[in-house]
């Protein structure tokens, strides 16, 4: 098949795959954003636990980050995907028998799994960022009579963002790429899944996987520009 007809396969009409790829791009971004939001929350909890004075909290956080970093993302994704669904079904079955046929939304399960994985790496990034804040500032907040929560909100969070941003930016780029793993779960409609579907139907494997890869590159490029702008903004008080 010549070049022109290959590209006509990408048209936006009813016969083309163009619109499907745009939909896939949207799903990939949605999954990445949601999973990233989950990992931010888990990262903040994890970092607080690692820096807390409670041995139990530190121990749990250590097990969490060590396990996630030692296990392949694909294995964790499948494990959390299956167990999360079973756990929710079990809880619902305790509440009422009406939920016996309840099916867990694959989107939500995938987001939970990816967020759980990202959260472990986020824990380390945030822990490092909190430790970079000069201790004197926290002492000064305490001396000014700020409560622990107010210190967190007014002193720690705004400043740690500056230290955490390079790591957080890298984790966002990982999140967009890791989101491609959900395509193994079946009918996920994400970008890589569209590449899989389009190439399986048309038999133009090289072409459609390249299209998917180029769209992933586009996400990366746009993200890198945004991260650079954010870094410039957060560092505007220094230099």
């Amino acid at each position: 098949m010549d070049q022109a007809s290959l590209f006509s396969l990408l048209s936006f009409g009813p016969d083309g795959w163009g619109m499907r790829f745009v939909e896939g791009l949207v799903v990939t971004v949605e999954v990445s954003v949601s999973a990233y939001a989950v990992s931010l929350v888990l990262g903040l909890i994890g970092a607080s636990a690692k820096l807390s004075s409670s041995k139990i909290a530190r121990g749990i956080a250590d097990i969490y980050t060590t396990l996630v970093r030692a296990l392949p993302e694909l294995l964790l994704l499948l494990l959390i995907y299956f167990s999360g669904a079973d756990a929710i079904k079990f809880v619902l079955s305790l509440i009422s028998e009406d939920f016996e046929d309840f099916e867990v939304d694959p989107f939500a399960a995938a987001v939970a799994a990816l967020g759980f994985i990202g959260g472990a790496y986020m824990t380390e990034v945030m822990r490092g960022a909190i430790l970079s804040i000069p201790n004197g500032q926290i002492e000064a907040a305490k001396a000014s009579g700020m409560s622990r929560f107010l210190t967190l909100r007014r002193v720690i969070l705004p400043q740690m963002l500056r230290y955490a941003l390079p790591g957080m930016g890298n984790l966002w780029l990982s999140a967009t790429k890791d989101s491609s793993l959900i395509s193994v779960l079946g009918n996920t409609q994400d970008l890589l899944f569209m590449g899989y579907r389009a190439s399986a139907v048309t038999k133009h494997y090289g072409f459609f996987y390249s299209v998917a890869a180029i769209l992933f590159l586009a996400i990366t490029v746009i993200s890198m520009i945004v991260i650079r702008l954010l870094e410039a903004r957060l560092n505007r008080g220094y230099k």
Binding site: E73, L74, L79, Y205, G206, F216
Partner: protein, 234 residues
Amino acid sequence: MDESLSFFLSIAPTLLAAVPVTLTLTFFSALIGNTLAVPVAVASLSPNPLLRYPSAFYIFVMRGTPLLAQTYLIYYGLGELLPGTWVQKSFLWPYLRDGFWYAIFAFSLNTAGYTGEILRGAIMAVPKGEIEAARAYGFSKGLIFWRVTLPRAIQICLPTMTGETILLLKATSLASLITVWEVMGTARQIQKVTFRVYEPLIAAGLLYIIMVFILTRLMMLVERRINRHRLAPV
């Protein structure tokens, strides 16, 4: 619980038999990928734009797209191109029908991109004085690179490389998606045959944890050996 334990024991031999596959995938991808990373890093630091830009673009593409997409592109894309060409008649063909070699190819190219970027930073971090000293001794450009710049750069980036190698070991699990029966693929196969969801995955997870632990220890030994001149004399 007893029943679960006996199930674990029953699948253990099958899973353990897949460990060498995972390790070979990791070893060859690391070997080829890290070797390719040297020219990638050197080219990305070259004053010649014809070398610098392609290398920077290569690193950008490898780091900017998911490894799974790269693996599919190579496995299915080459699988579409190669049949019907001279390759099909060559001695290579029996190998090229096996996902294993495509997996090594894909992981090596990916590693070359990531390590290339790391090595680039490390080469730039080699103290200038050491290179000037080598030049003062009359070392040729090539000799300076092989005897001073590269060994020092490897020494500088070794801790990062340890992390990268662990990431590579974990990434080889993606080979299961192109029909390579390494640990992850074997676990999924057991899942399908036995209708057990958790046990095969948990057993595979334990194997990965053990492999990561041993690999970390090995890399620590390598680090000690390379930094042995810095250690206090015993």
